[in-house]
Amino acid sequence: MQNYVLSKGLISLLAALLLLPVSAFSQELSPREIMDKLEDNRRATSNSALSRMQLSTCKFGVRDGKITCAERPRVKSLESVGKGYGLDLKDTKSVAILLEPAAERGIGMLSFNYDDGARDNESWLYLSALGRVKRIASGSSDDETEPGSLFGSEFTTEDQDTGKLDEYQIKLLEETVEASREVWKIEMIPNQERARKSRYSRTVMYIDKERFIELKVEMYDRYDKEIKRLLGSRVELMNGIWIARSTTIMNLVTNRLSNMAFLEMHTGIEVPDEFLTQRTLTDAAFRETELEKLRAQIN
């Protein structure tokens, strides 16, 4: 309950901040502060939240000035529930269950992410065909680990990462316009330590001045060649949080794209602690009952 109140409070505070006229303080924000705000916004989307996402991946081509899938996209959809814990709710527990495709239906992942760098993240994987849960030892502290792919899509864990801003040199390149919105064009260059773990030598982000979300991100490889591009679209205010409901990442070398669409996103949900346990993975009946209760909160 305390968490619920806290998170509610945080969200309204965030919303209030975000809705303030930008001109009031945009001049004073340092590039680092802009990034902090962007990340706060990102984190808010997963706190006490229930969301349903769809990941579509396909080879793409360009015709008549439009980027279009050149094959039937491979679609995965999943439902996820997350909740913040600890001081400032910076630790998170979340569970994600695959709904589609049929062959992967019921595969689930339970993750505990800790803000404290010294504490290893924990995760459990459930393969429905096997009917067993396995704890996956995390290698997050290990620089040898390559960035994992998000459900086999073009999105990698690195593209979705929050935090670790200290490991970047952040620079405001210019203030400009992108997708008819005023944006800050910010360059992030990883420091030597970070560069070892990163695929990118630098990223350039176009951040909406008003809504603090990325409208476009260019990712450059070590030859300073742009290899991936992310585009955020269908920006909507969902439950008081600005969110790009449709995010597309394009691999410019392999000509493959993945789109992540938020079909539903609800924040401010009271998630019982028991839901964020292994039982949700293995016990389908329990899971469905609990999910029903969560959905009831939305309505």
Partner: protein, 912 residues
């Protein structure tokens, strides 16, 4: 025919007059055009030095390789095998060094560059080359999966902080030896050898100018990316007719691979105290090839020196050196300049073209000059001598030009573009050498025309006189000192070569006349014996040829004691083998690779080929291994689950796990839509011959294994590919087609001989001495058990072309002499004495130059250099002894009516 030949000879006799009449015009024209050509060479030459230039891009197997790279990434890597000097790669010192080295390669950006040299092997080190490193794997960072108490662990084989107890190090070693996936890949069974796999992005980096189609102005996502349905659905539109942008990948040339390998070497050589290194893979191989090219340049310089010296000594005049050089250089400038201006892409094979132009050009010039000098020494005036020289040699030069052109043009029937280009440019070069011999050489000889009998003795003459002035003992003394110092300074090999050059030159300079005078008598006396000896050699060489094995072997490109071959041997003996190939499986069906029956077939194929070829194949790896391993690990390492599960649902979930944890590895193994995958095979080094057999048999195994899956996968394609395997296959195909085109060339040359000599019998007769040198080099190789590889076969037509040239000169001269004199004896004497000298000189210069190639580090070159020069020398013996013996025996009249066929050299000699 006879009339045509005579009128052609007359036309050649007039040629110098015509040229000299317009000499200013001709010279100016040549200078202007040559300048344009040289400018074109430096400004417009397109040169392709990539390894792929060797492959035919339209070949289905090459397309499969391109697809493979596009799909699964670069297959170019350095497999850096090291021997722990303390005998154990799992000792504390070795592990520390391996950890440090792995770290240096992965995190080279943080190394202190001042601790490294700035150049290596004469190449400036470029740190940016290390950007090509995509991944480094070694004992220090490999992990194995383990299931402990419901936890899935991905443990390092060697912990970052090494254990303090030696017993624990022993346990690590024990664990390592139990991991089948890593044994032989990262350490040998006796743990004396270890390996670091440096994977690169070679061949998968887009070209510099590549611009993604999405960068075009006003490009945006289609509307479906923003369209959410009312019922919270979201469907991206798709259109299969939309074209996917083709990405052109940067081609990598020898210099690129070498720069990368040399830079990596600078990093790993710091650990030479603990390890001895044996690198294999394309980058070290290309470095070797580049060294060979540099060595060729050095050999080229020595070659020019030797040939300058020989020409100067043989003709005793520096103009005899300068003018042929000028003629040849112009031919080369035009032969390289014309392709440059017409936009033809040249490859490293242009060096062979240059060699050919050199050889042919020198032969053309020597024949003309030898005749000219001979007429001058007989007291003829310069212009008359020049005209006579062309009259005598012009026709033969024309015929040799045509036959050599035919020989090299036979190469243009090859499927490979680079060989076709080589064929055409070489043919052009040969034609140009003829053109300049006719057009330029008379003008040059007119400018400086030594050989004047009244002129002062040249320096070479004076030197000769001085030598003959010495007492016999002094001569012996000087000779002993000379030969000892040659051997002492240059060693046995080069020393032997220089001594041979010296002796042969001495013999030819001092005794050419007596030798040539003695030849007719000897042949007249023992014609049957001579024919019997040559016949026996011919038959044994034919037998040798039947034994010849066409086989290209990467490791055997270099000498036995070379670093490259040692590395291959070590890797084959101790690790999983130095070669790799791929079996690509394309189901042409989305998610096809998730089918359990297909995976079971893949697994079965792996077992079958591993069982059938224990001596050729060390290990195989595929998606089936991943599925089996994951299945086992997810079931607490229970061996009962070390198999492909029967349920497709299970397979797809196991693959889900693999994909999530290791997307890079997954993408390297199976395509994004799970329709394509591949089996990687590690193999021991073998020659292309063995590979071919292996490919054929593997095709049968594949057909049998996948036979039951036709209904489920009607479009299933299973192809064998991989860059090394492809190289081998192409090398073998190439060698075979070369062999065929060589025979074709010999056929064409026979026809030309028959036409030129105006008689079927004569033509065939002339072909025998032509065939012997060709058969000799191949036959000797067959008898000695040396395989004939692709590189050797490329030079073969050149050598044979040159060997044939002298015979043609001989026969053509004889034919004309017979027509003019009507007497066989007189024609034969005049031919032996006039052409004999020129043939001796060209043989000396060309054969000794080719012999120099025997010292090449590239075995293909070395073999051809050695056997080629043997063939050219043998051709000389054929010309001097076999041809006269055959003429004496068979008395061919070459269509000359009423020719006197009596052979009596004593009368003829006195009559002259």
């Amino acid at each position: 025919m006879e009339k045509i030949l005579l009128s052609l000879s007359d036309a050649f006799a007039q040629a110098p007059y015509k040229v000299l009449k317009y000499k200013s015009f001709v010279l100016t024209g040549l200078i202007v055009i040559t300048s344009v050509m040289v400018y074109g060479i430096f400004s417009r030459t397109t040169f392709d030095m990539t390894a792929d230039s060797f492959l035919d891009e339209a070949d289905p197997a090459a397309i499969a390789l391109d697809d493979f790279r596009e799909q699964f990434g670069s297959d170019e890597s350095i497999f850096l095998v090291y021997r722990a000097k303390d005998g154990n790669v799992f000792s504390r010192e070795s592990l520390e060094a391996a950890q440090q080295l792995t770290n240096d390669l992965r995190n080279w950006q943080s190394l202190d560059r001042s601790e490294y040299p700035e150049t290596m092997n004469g190449i400036t080190l470029d740190w940016n080359e290390l950007n090509h490193i995509r991944r480094v794997q070694s004992i220090a960072n490999i992990r194995y999966q383990e299931s402990v108490d419901d936890s899935l662990l991905s443990n390092r084989l060697v912990p970052t902080a090494l254990p303090s107890e030696n017993a624990e190090l022993g346990q690590i070693r024990g664990k390592a030896l139990s991991l089948d996936d890593y044994l032989l890949a990262f350490y040998s069974e006796n743990t004396e050898y270890g390996a670091i796999l440096i994977q690169t992005d070679f061949g998968t980096k887009p070209e510099d100018g590549f611009v993604s189609a999405v960068d075009a102005a006003d490009v945006s996502l289609d509307d479906s990316f923003d369209s959410f349905g009312d019922d919270l659905t979201f469907d991206l539109e798709f259109d299969e007719s939309v074209e996917i942008q083709e990405v052109d990948f940067e081609a990598v040339d020898m210099l690129g691979y070498t720069a990368f390998h040399v830079m990596s070497k600078a990093i790993y050589e710091k650990y030479e105290e603990q390890f001895e290194f044996f690198p294999v893979g394309t980058p070290p191989l290309m470095e070797f090839m580049l060294e060979i090219m540099n060595e060729m340049q050095l050999l080229g310089i020595i070659l020019v020196l030797i040939f300058t010296l020989l020409l100067w000594i043989l003709f005793r005049s520096f103009s005899a050196v300068l003018w042929p050089l000028a003629t040849i250089l112009l031919s080369i400038a035009w032969a390289v300049g014309i392709p440059a201006w017409t936009g033809v892409v040249l490859t490293t094979m242009i060096s062979l073209t240059i060699m050919l132009i050199f050889a042919v050009g020198i032969a053309d010039c020597i024949h003309v000059m030898s005749a000219y000098f001979s007429f001058r020494r007989q007291g003829q005036e310069h212009h008359i001598a020049l005209s006579h020289a062309y009259e005598k040699t012009g026709l033969a030069i024309l015929v040799t030009t045509i036959t050599t052109m035919c020989g090299v043009m036979a190469l243009s029937t090859s499927d490979l573009e680079m060989i076709q280009v080589f064929g055409w440019t070489s043919a052009l070069g040969v034609l140009l050498a003829f053109f300049f011999t006719i057009v330029l050489l008379p003008i040059l000889l007119n400018i400086w025309h030594p050989g004047d009998p009244d002129a002062d003795a040249s320096f070479a003459d004076k030197l000769g006189k001085r030598w003959h002035g010495f007492a016999r003992n002094t001569q012996i003394g000087i000779a002993v000192v000379y030969f000892s110092s040659v051997f002492f300074v240059l060693g046995l090999g080069v020393g032997g070569y220089v001594s041979l050059v010296t002796i042969l030159t001495y013999v030819v300079v001092n005794w050419q006349k007596p030798i040539l005078n003695a030849v007719p008598a000897i042949t007249a006396r023992y014609p049957y014996l001579i024919m019997a000896i040559f016949g026996a050699i011919f038959v044994s060489c034919l037998y040798g040829m039947s034994k010849i094995r066409i086989d290209s072997n990467m490791a055997e490109l270099s000498r036995e004691d070379s670093q490259l071959q040692r590395a291959y041997d070590i890797v084959d003996e101790n690790m999983a083998g130095s070669q790799s190939m791929e079996i690509v499986i394309n189901t042409n069906k989305v998610d096809g690779m998730m089918n359990p029956r297909l995976l079971q077939a893949v697994d079965e194929l792996q077992t079958r080929i591993e069982d059938r070829y224990p001596n050729e194949i060390s290990r195989t790896n595929s998606l089936a291994n991943i599925v089996k391993e994951t299945y086992k690990v997810m079931n607490d390492d229970d061996l009962a689950y070390d198999r492909i599960p029967d349920s497709e649902l299970m397979v797809s979930q196991l693959l889900y796990l693999f994909n999530s944890s290791n997307p890079e590895d997954r993408r390297a193994l199976v395509s994004d839509d799970y329709s394509k995958s591949h089996i990687s095979i590690s193999a021991y080094n073998a020659g292309s011959y063995q590979y071919q057999i292996f490919f054929t048999e593997m095709g049968e195994e594949i057909a049998q294994t996948f036979a039951g899956l036709e209904t489920e996968f009607p479009e299933l394609q299973v192809t064998v590919t991989g860059s090394m395997a492809m190289m081998m296959r192409m090398a073998d195909d190439l060698a075979r087609s070369q062999y065929a085109s060589l025979l074709l060339a010999l056929g064409i040359i026979s026809v030309i001989m028959i036409v030129t000599l105006g008689s079927f019998q004569g033509g065939l007769l002339a072909m025998i001495p032509n065939l012997i040198p060709a058969v000799l080099s191949f036959g000797l190789m067959g008898l000695l058990g040396l395989p004939l590889d692709a590189d050797t076969l490329l030079i073969a037509p050149i050598i044979i072309g040159i060997a044939v040239d002298d015979t043609i000169h001989f026969m053509t001269h004889y034919r004309i002499a017979l027509a003019r004199t009507g007497s066989m004896s007189r024609a034969l004497i005049s031919t032996i004495q006039d052409v004999g000298q020129a043939v001796m000189f060209t043989t000396m210069v060309i054969a000794l130059s080719f012999a120099l190639l025997s010292f090449s580090g590239h075995m293909g070159m070395a073999k051809m250099g050695f056997f080629g020069s043997v063939a050219i020398f043998f051709a000389l013996l054929c010309d001097l002894f076999l041809i006269p013996a055959m003429i004496i025996t068979f008395k061919p009249t070459f269509g000359v009516k009423d020719a006197n066929t009596d052979i009596d050299f004593s009368k003829t000699a006195t009559a002259q």
